[in-house]
Amino acid sequence: MDMDESLIGQAPPEEKQYSYLNLGPTHPATHGIFQNVLKMDGEIIVEAEPTIGYIHRAFEKLAERRPYAQITPLTDRLNYCSAPINNIGWHMTVEKLLGTEIPKRVQYLRVIIMELARITDHLICNAVIGVDTGALTGFVYLFQQRELVYEIYEEICGARLTTNIGRIGGFERDFSPKAWAKIHQFLKEFPVILKEFENLLKRNRIFMDRTIGVGGISDERALNYSFSGPNLRAAGVDYDVRVAAPYSSYEDFDFIIPIGSNGDVYDRFMVRQEEMWQSLRIIKQAIDKLPDGPFHAKVPEFYLPPKEEVYNNMEALIYHFKIVMGETDIPKGEVYHCVEGGNGELGFYLISDGGRTPFRLQFRRPCFIYYQAYPEMIKGSMLSDAILTMSSMNVIAGELDA
């Protein structure tokens, strides 16, 4: 009998069998509803196919139907963990279209609110990275701090999460003394807890083993995928809209942009941690340098005049009527404005045809754009690493699907 000698003692060659795992839309570890069908070779992931759209609420079509001031509640629900940034970004887009000049005090107050919102967004992301590695304590501590920020929002605008904060042109009223007291209380208490949380995880052997080298992406690939925000900065590119195209007086403040080197989960965690410290620094500077002045700009197209004037002054009455009925004159044009959201460059591309509703409003959503790199980032890693990569990218379903 003729047999190939080299085959003796070896297993017969067989076809590689892959299994398909559906990391379905409802899953405890995916924070948001999106689906990934993973092709697995044992525990290693070979390919992934994401499906999104499970919470598509047709924001862009809705925006074509709503007058400008009514679009603010829609923008709340984009990245709902840091709703004020979306609101203020939208207001700035309309102000750019109208060409209004915003007083310094309004700009500084907006900076305070936006940095508070950025802190809350990063709090959720880092707490959730902790939870996915098994550290549940950090989550409970940090959510307690989010309650403090919710109380600040409540003093200013009345709502906790979906804030609809401010108006086109500024704020409806100045911050009350109680709001200032709460902000100062937050600035006193929060750094202590943040330091405690950081000490739990920053040099923790288990956390570092789980997160270093996991889910990395190089800076050229990140730029090619149009990443922005903390994910891009963790990959090593120092692009921050607050510095590249400063808006709302960010050029007056002194802060650094933290960048990472590998773009892995640990770098993203540390970039977000450091950004929270920098945000605290910006808030302190803004409070110290806060100028006096009006808390809203003169925007007769959108700003409801105060009630005493409406009842006594003819002009104010006419403006009130025109604003409420939506008969104000909006210039025609196309404008693009972007702000640094919690996840990156949040852009609003607005085309106005002079009517009371936009002709076209496109939201440039950072989450949607960088999530396409996810299959590439988890190729060859294990399932638990894939979960960790997803939570470190801070994918918010509202922003993903709009």
């Binding site: 047709a58 989010r146 999460l161």
Partner: protein, 189 residues
């Protein structure tokens, strides 16, 4: 100065009320429904079906400030087979409808549904082609919690109403003809 609570237990700790029954040395007789109701209501295991912003308010409800665990819901179950209460929080798009229906069908009786938020109750502010205008088009709902998003106190209020439903439910309800007829209206076997 410490206040003593009526029945001699530790100050600040309130005991649940005893159901009516006949008591003697070493035994207490009451109806099975009351005991089962009391046990069930204080140990509801919820399934948080969190899709959007209301999910963040739910996370705040589970946090240390508005602790939901003190109502017995310490253990969140993400598997429908081990859950009692399906809490639907957030917008349900038409793409998500079949998934929600499948999760509901996988739950074992007795099961309750709490619809948290305006979007789950009626479609909310999203009257569009892609959003399901209320989950009660596909599954039966027990309690609706309005709000956009509802405050944690409102969510807890909804849980307390569910607890009341759980406590007062008859043990035969899930086998009755009316219940089966109601499920048939939704097309659920």
């Amino acid at each position: 100065m410490m206040e003593r609570v009526e029945n001699g237990s530790k100050p600040g700790v309130r005991m649940a009320e005893k159901p009516e029954g006949y008591e003697g040395t070493g035994f207490f007789a009451t109806s099975l429904e009351k005991v089962v109701g009391m046990a069930r209501k204080n140990s509801i295991w919820p399934l948080p079906f969190a899709t959007s912003c209301c999910g963040i308010e739910f996370m705040a409800t589970m946090g240390a400030h508005y602790d939901l665990a003190r109502f017995g819901s310490e253990r969140l179950s993400f598997s429908p087979r081990q859950a009692d209460l399906l809490m639907v929080m957030g917008t349900i798009a038409k793409k998500m409808g079949p998934v929600l229906r499948q999760v509901y069908e996988q739950m074992a009786e007795p099961r309750w549904v709490l619809s948290v938020g305006a979007c789950a109750s009626s479609g909310g502010i999203f009257d569009t082609y892609s959003v399901l205008q209320g989950i009660d088009r596909i599954i039966p709902v027990d309690v609706y919690v309005p709000g956009c998003p509802p405050r944690p106190e409102q969510i807890i209020d909804g849980i307390i109403k569910i607890q009341h439903l759980v406590e007062t439910e008859s043990l035969r309800r899930r086998d009755s003809q009316e219940y089966k007829a109601m499920l048939n209206k939704f097309g659920i076997e």
